[in-house]
Amino acid sequence: MRILHTSDWHLGRTFNGASLHDEQAAALDRIVEINSASQIDLVIIAGDLYDRGYPPTEAVQLFDSTVARLRSTGATVVAISGNHDSGARVGVYDKMLAGTGVSIRGDISRSNEAILVEPRDQTAPVAIYPIPFLEPSAALNALRSDVDVDCAQDGEPSCNAVVRRRLSQDQLAKLAAERIRADLATRGLRSVVIAHTFMDGGSACESERELTVGNVEKVGTDAFAGFDYVALGHLHGRQVFEGGRIAYSGTPLPYSFSEESHVKSVSIAEMSSDGSVKTDLIDLNVGRKLHTIVGTLDDLLRSSEFAYAEQGRVRAVLLDKHMPLQAMTQLQKRFPHAVSLQREKDKAVQEREFVPTADPSRSPQEFVFDFWRDQVGLEPDSRESALLVEAVAENQRLTAQ
């Protein structure tokens, strides 16, 4: 069975205030193209369909039309909600879509309801289990079932007994996977699991939002043992585990300067009848490229070295010692899509540890001399020094009384 695996479209996202809609539309066009040309049995969109819970209208419309186009080739389309999506909104008509070949799952409790796909090569159907993002407050209630996963911690009772305690992403993933295994066992088919989570060992970049506020909660690869292909979303760079059984497709477009060097693609996974998977990557080459250019303002404006970046989305790092005037305006003359401007000096300062000048460990006397030097521009002469020293000492004594 042939699977087209993509994820993290983030429709409706802006890049430093600039709308990405057109580029996203172009990327989706490309994906639709690939889908039509490749005899795809199953299209997987593994979460973060939109960038926000309330996406803008045009984003919704784009998604709607794209799904229709994908389905029109006969491929089954299965999508899940990610941590950016509002699961309830995204998955609102999923029950009604049953049997139509399209499934957009946002309800965690239905994560063990299989969608059967019959591949074109007439081999046995494959069971697809879409697991929406396991939002901690909703997930526990949704997954509570007769299947008990050992999530005892510090003497806690089994998961089913836990009422309001927060479970970690790893625990929730294991719980969901168990339910799926229970269902799979009754079918004896090849299986594909779709999930939106942070796999332990994966590499992140600046643009992923933390799954739970404040916690980088990772899921171990052992949680998804026993499934033939695990299609993941959330991390923006494409990467695989266990030789390709578990994979992230990555975003179709770069969404932050930390993805500057990523090659954006979709994955085509070929699953043979024994369940083993071979993956190909198809680069998308869509959207404005990201470039970080470093130099003095003068260089950046004049040097031909930077000509390649003129049409790209540019982040400039200035090496100038002093802040140049109207730097952004000037930059944007050459690089109309310059979105970020920083000074190397400032970056360096930001990276260093901040040392306060009003260092509490400096004695008042040193402080007063600092003041003198700063205001007068010279060291105080011997008589002035003596007077200052006396003033400090005398007042310290008086204050201490």
Partner: protein
């Protein structure tokens, strides 16, 4: 400061009891406070502010804080538990409020109150109570006033940007309260004060110099009578010197004149003196001559008095002796009277004395004899006194011994009695002892009896039960036998049948004339017939074993029976013929006998002891009685002996003095008599001596009178004159004579010879001299004044030099001091003061911390800068904040930022303040931060960055509460406090916040 629990009752929109446990939310660190508009989100923060400071931000009237929906008479209260400096506290506050009356309609007001308690593992300890105390305590603990708290921890709605937008003065106040710059202010003030006081000193020094110059002018004027305006001191000194020398010359001239006049005067005075002397002497002589006649008379009287004095003593002497004699005689008479009385009253008067006639003085020899006799008598009396003493002690001994005798007799009698009593007791005790001993002997036998009786009783008891068992066993045995028997029969039958069967089987095989495998016979007469119900060997065996089992059971039963037989027999033997009751009675009886005997036997020892003690006592009593009797006898002996002695002595005494007087009395009177006689002897002797002396003096008198100029005694006496008067006369006479001689001599002196006839004129000469002296005096005074002035001027000159030198030094030091002071006070060229600079340094640090966050939130575009130099001077300088826009490179005023940019900058700044305060000595730890709204101004990307930034804060363990209705936040932040509004007030729920 870390919040733990907030409890609200009947406060603001919260009608009932609401509780927020921040610890629950602490794990999440970042939480949302959400609810409808007007539900009371902001009021939650107000409650915290109220709890701590007693005031609600926004200036709401305290009385209106009680919830309008409050039930009944619920009292509004806020209770807030928090940790600070590693201690945990709870503060409770109630605002003044109005309650419905208990009875009737209308309202009554309730008082406000506050209390602060410290909570420890051991319990609660009271820290402060009452609003004033609590407020003070809180301010000291937290270190922030209400205003500052609202700028640093609790960032209320709409004033989030205040720190950013505040003018420099307000910023100064805030910074000043967070960072301690008092020292620098003090240094500045101190320098100013010093500068001012140095100025004052300089002023004084200048004045001193002027005073000197004034004095110079004055002195010159005084000396020269020429006023000078600004005198040069050296010129003045020279002028004064000139004048001084002139004055000296004048003085010398005047002195010469005075001397001449003085000489003239002296000469005149000498002549005047001689003239006077002569006149006086002449007058004196005339006076003396007029007195000559009376002086002659006096001479004669004195002469006669001398003669009378010479014989006065002799004339007086005899009278004196006569008087002495008369006195002595009266003494003798008195003594004789005393003697007569003594003799009359004396109890014993020796013979010689008795024989004297005491109406007149007896002869000396008689008196001596009586005296001697009396002395002998006294000696005898002394030895008699000794005897009396001896008699007394003998009598005392008698009494003593009598007492001893009676005591001893009594003791003897008592002992005898006791001995008798003891004897009686002993007899009794001996008897009891015998009884006890016999009981002891019998004890063993009785014990044995008891044992037997007990055994028998036991046997009887057991016999009954054993008999029953025996009967059972017998029955069992019989039954078993029966059963066995039956079983055996069955078995045998079965065996037969089986054998028959075999036989039959065999039989069937049997052929005539063939040998039977069993018996070998070839004939088979009665062939066994196969039976239908032939049992198998197995059946047989089963039956056999059944029988065998039963048989063994029989054996058991039989042996059991046999055992029981034996038991019964034994028991019977033991029990004898008695039944249970009898046996029990026997046991009881034997026990009683045994117990009694034991009791008696137990006493044996103590009884034996008692007998022994009694014996001992009897013996002791006997001894005592014997010894007492012996002592009594001895005492009787002593009595007899001493009595005899006393009688003898008393008799002897009575012999000498009779029986109706004592030796003491006799001795006393004898002594008196001796004294009297001795004195009488003395008197007699003296009398004789006095008489002869008198006679001698009479003779001498008569002689003296014959040889004098007087005719008789009367004349001699009349011529007498007192010694003093006589001396006076002598003196007067001599004086007169002397004077005459003196005056005569004077008149004949040499220097009174050539004298002028008239008296010389002394008065004129004197006045001349006086006038001259006056002139001299004034000249000297003038000279002195001038010299003094000159000295003073020299002094002043020296002083001036010194003063001027010191003054210039002072001015130099003052200039330096002023320079430094002004610098520190920021008064120079638009620079800033030390304190301000310090605050600016802190502000720079705050911006440093803030910029780190702002960099992340604005993707490196904005940073905050402090304007260190005064732009326009004045109070606002040095603490101005500007924003540097990286895109334009221009410093912008903070008011030019958009809403969203302002929020970012304000948030960064607020966090920067918290960071700086914490880094700097950690005096005020800001562990919690509450932000009321403002997130609505951010676009999605900026919101994401802001949340990321807030998220990073939680690493420090800080808790951040956000009030916002921005739905994006509800998507991201799931933990929080949800406030629900209803008609009856608002309620609070803490926990998971569902996404909208």
């Amino acid at each position: 400061m870390k919040p733990h629990v907030l409890k609200i009752e009947a406060f603001g929109p919260y009608a009932g009891n609401e509780e927020i446990n921040f610890d629950q939310l602490a794990d999440d660190g970042l939480f949302l406070i959400c609810g409808e508009t007007g539900a009371g989100k902001t009021f939650l923060l107000d409650a915290i502010a109220f709890a701590l400071y007693g005031k609600v931000p926004g200036g709401r009237d305290e009385k209106s804080l009680r919830s309008d929906h409050a039930v009944g008479r619920a009292v509004p209260q806020v209770s807030f538990e928090f940790s600070l400096h590693e201690h945990r506290y709870r503060i409770e506050r109630t605002p003044t409020h109005v309650l419905p009356k208990l009875k009737g309609t209308g309202t009554t007001s309730g008082a406000s109150g506050a209390s602060l308690t410290r909570l420890t593992d051991a319990g609660e300890s009271h820290v402060a109570a009452g609003i004033t105390e609590v407020n003070k305590a809180i301010e000291g603990l937290i270190g922030l006033t209400e205003k500052q708290f609202l700028q640093v921890i609790l960032l209320p709605q709409g004033s989030f940007a205040h720190v950013l937008r505040a003018n420099s003065k307000d910023r100064e106040a805030l910074l000043g309260s967070l960072f301690d710059t008092v020292l620098y202010e003090r240094i500045s003030t101190w320098l100013q004060d010093r500068s001012r006081s140095t100025e004052a000193e300089i002023g004084e020094a200048r004045r001193a110099v002027e005073n000197h110059l004034d004095e110079v002018a004055r002195l010159w004027a005084q000396v020269s009578n020429e006023p000078t305006e600004t005198p040069d001191i050296n010129v003045v000194i020279d002028g004064v010197a000139e004048i001084a020398s002139q004055a000296t010359a004048a003085v010398d001239a005047t002195k010469a004149i005075v001397n001449d006049l003085q000489e003239t005067k002296d000469a005149i005075f000498a002549i005047a003196e001689r003239w006077q002397r002569h006149a006086d002497a002449t007058r004196q002589l005339a006076d003396l001559e007029s007195q000559a006649a009376s002086v002659e008379t006096q001479r004669e009287v004195a002469d006669r008095a001398k003669h009378a004095a010479q014989i006065a003593a002799a004339i007086a002497a005899p009278r004196e002796h006569e008087d002495a004699l008369t006195d002595h005689n009266s003494l003798i008479d008195a003594q004789l009277l005393v003697a007569r009385d003594a003799v009359a009253t004396a109890s014993i008067v020796p013979s010689d004395l008795a024989g004297l006639d005491l109406s007149g003085l007896p002869a000396q020899a008689d008196l001596v004899a009586a005296n001697t006799q009396l002395a002998i008598f006294l000696e005898r009396l002394e030895s008699l006194a000794e005897d009396a003493a001896k008699a007394d002690s003998a009598e005392a001994r008698v009494r003593e011994q009598q007492e001893i005798e009676s005591n001893e007799r009594a003791a003897a009698t008592e002992s005898a009695q006791r001995s008798e009593d003891a004897g009686v007791e002993r007899v009794e005790a001996t008897r009891d002892l015998a009884i006890a001993r016999s009981a002891q002997d019998r004890l063993n036998g009785l014990e044995a009896d008891l044992t037997v009786a007990t055994e028998r009783y036991k046997a009887v008891a057991q016999l009954e039960s054993t008999l029953i068992s025996h009967a059972d066993a017998q029955r069992t045995s019989t039954e078993a036998k029966q059963a066995a028997l039956e079983s055996k029969e069955k078995w045998l039958q079965l065996q037969e049948k089986y054998l028959d069967g075999i036989a039959a089987a065999l039989a069937s095989d049997l052929v005539s004339d063939a040998a039977c495998p069993v018996c070998g016979s070839t004939e088979h007469p009665s062939l066994a017939v196969q039976r239908a119900d032939a049992p198998t060997k197995q059946d047989v065996e089963v039956s056999q074993s059944a029988y065998e089992r039963l048989e063994s059971k029989v054996q058991d039963a039989v042996s059991a029976l046999g055992y029981l037989d034996t038991s019964v027999a034994a028991l019977r033997a033991q029990a004898g013929a008695s039944d249970l009751e009898t046996a029990h009675a026997a046991v009881a009886k034997a026990q009683e006998a045994f117990d009694t005997a034991s009791a008696l036997a137990a006493q044996a020892e103590s009884l034996a002891e008692r007998v022994f003690d009694l014996d001992t006592e009897i013996a002791t009593c006997e001894d005592v009685r014997e010894s007492s009797q012996a002592n009594a006898r001895i005492a009787a002996q002593n009595i007899k002996h001493s009595t005899a002695e006393a009688i003898a002595l008393r008799a002897s005494i009575a012999e000498h003095i009779g029986t109706d007087t004592s030796i003491e009395l006799v001795e006393a009177s004898a002594r008196v008599l001796v004294e009297i006689t001795s004195s009488l002897v003395g008197f007699a002797t003296t009398k004789a001596v006095l008489e002869s002396a008198r006679d001698a003096t009479i003779k001498a008198r008569d002689n003296a009178l014959e040889m004098s100029i007087f005719a008789d005694i009367a004349e001699a006496v009349a011529a007498r004159v007192e010694v003093d008067a006589l001396q006076e006369l002598q003196r007067a006479i001599e004086h007169h004579d002397g004077e005459v001689m003196k005056v005569t001599g004077v008149l004949q002196a040499a220097d009174l010879s050539d004298l002028p006839p008239d008296q010389p004129n002394t008065a004129g000469a004197t006045s001349d001299v006086e006038v001259a002296n006056e002139l001299l005096e004034s000249a000297i005074k003038h000279q002195q004044t001038v010299l003094d002035s000159r000295n003073r001027l020299i002094e002043i000159s020296e002083e001036l030099q010194k003063s001027e030198g010191a003054l210039s030094e002072m001015i130099e030091a003052a200039t330096l001091l002023k320079g430094v002071a002004d610098r520190c006070a920021g008064k120079l060229e638009g620079k800033i003061s030390l304190q301000r600079w310090a605050l600016a340094a802190y502000l720079t640090d705050i911006c440093g911390y803030a910029n780190r966050r702002l960099y992340t939130m604005s993707d490196g575009r904005y940073s905050l800068q402090v304007d260190r130099n005064a732009a326009s001077g004045g109070a606002g300088s040095g603490l101005a904040l500007h924003v540097l826009d990286g895109y334009t490179g221009i410093l912008r005023d903070v008011s030019t930022l958009s809403g969203g940019e302002t929020f970012q900058a304000s948030l960064a700044l607020a966090l920067g303040v918290a960071d700086a305060v914490q880094a700097h000595n950690g005096g005020v730890r800001l562990d919690a931060l509450f932000i009321d709204e403002g997130f609505g101004t951010l676009d999605a990307e900026s919101l994401q960055r802001a949340i990321d930034e807030l998220d990073n804060l939680r690493d420090g363990g800080r808790m951040i509460g956000i009030i916002s209705h921005v739905s994006e936040l509800r998507e991201r932040i799931r933990a929080g406090i949800e406030i629900s509004k209803s008609d009856t007030g608002s309620t609070i729920r803490v926990g998971e916040i569902a996404a909208t």
